[in-house]
Symmetry: C2
Subunit: 227 residues, 2 copies
């Protein structure tokens, strides 16, 4: 009797993330997981990006928060499907989204009518990086108000993403923040990762972020064609 060894046994989150991914692939939706510390400007950036409209890309948003629907309410005027997902059922609320929470929200989203789904995670620089939800790409937003040491203090988060967006550039004259030093720290924990310098307030760099998001469905399609 040969003993069969199962390697790479998946944990429950990874199993469900793959199920989400299969649903996204079947319906042709590219998915981005948007992560940051609280108050880094994820929602404001989304407002700026989506207000202009994406060229030929139908976008939807899944808003993750401990409680309330403040962020979803802010996006409601943009005429894109927005669903609010609250993690506050547990004591104090979960500090991150996981694959199962996202899965529970999928029936509320018109996946067949979307090309791009942006999942805005709970504001947190630790745990969201540990839970894949079935996304194609992860964007990490860091604000110059948070300090240039953040990549060194929260390395997993800065390693787990394909794009780092440095936001609130308009505050640079008013804070002690050296962009070169931040990029040096970022390169130390995630060599070569793409980055954008933006200001959601002034609009600087927002076009580049929009271009990046707009290109994601095509990138996801190319990946699916390879499999």
């Amino acid at each position: 009797m040969k003993v069969r060894v199962v390697e790479d046994a998946l944990d429950a989150n990874e199993t469900i993330a793959q199920a989400n991914r299969a649903d996204f692939d079947r319906t042709g939706v590219a998915v981005v997981n948007l992560m940051s510390a609280p108050g880094a400007g994820k929602t404001t950036l989304l407002e700026r990006v989506l207000a202009g409209g994406l060229d030929g890309v139908r976008a939807g948003v899944l808003e993750g928060d401990v409680q309330g629907s403040l962020d979803a309410d802010r996006l409601a005027h943009l005429h894109v499907p927005v669903v609010q997902l609250n993690t506050g059922a547990g004591f104090g609320g979960e500090c991150h989204l996981d694959a199962n929470m996202v899965r529970s929200a999928l029936p509320a989203l018109p996946l067949d009518e979307l090309d791009l789904l942006v999942i805005e995670n709970v504001g947190n620089l630790v745990c969201p990086a540990e839970f894949r939800v079935g996304e194609d790409a992860r964007i990490m937003v860091s604000s110059v108000a948070e300090g240039e040491d953040k990549p060194l203090k929260y390395p997993l988060m800065f390693r787990a993403c394909e794009l780092v967006v440095l936001n609130k550039l308009d505050l640079l004259p008013h804070v002690d923040f050296d962009v070169e030093r931040f990029l040096h720290h970022l390169d130390a924990v995630h060599p070569g990762v793409a980055h954008l310098l933006v200001s959601a307030r002034t609009g600087e760099g927002v076009d580049e972020l929009r271009d990046w998001l707009q290109a994601l469905p095509e990138r996801a399609e190319a990946r699916r064609a390879l499999v």
Copy 2:
């Protein structure tokens, strides 16, 4: 045979928090748990407060971080005992301090020679509020760069503290932040909680925070005398 019903059975964290508290009481140390989102300015505030020295109060600091000793290094020149506690042993690192982590660091601290221990928690607005570590008081630092909606989005954190410090006041002219509205939101989730308006950068309000910390050992002593 009478069946004894144990009510209020404590969870493991609460049991260990009480053991920490007993040690703090025995050695006469008042303990404050300092919490905030990443980059709200906890360490810079501590630098400012401790640089001036506390009048007749011997302070020590326990620095909690996922990894590294950047914050402890920043405080090293202040001639107060500083111990760094890293939570990164698990995958990705724990996003908060708990009572057992703090307990494991206590032997590294000269409790007998301290009147005040400041425990700087991991930057996070969710989970630190769920874990008591044996502290007398909790201070929550929020920065005007994070936005005035934070009390509504992370209510447990703003409810779980005795003092809310609104930091980075110097940035007010450069961000969309209405202090009155923030205080209104704060009052909605934690009616009557004390607050201070400060700027670690300019020093505004730092004296009031120093006074508050300086008075804590006496308040803790009064509590112990009552028990």
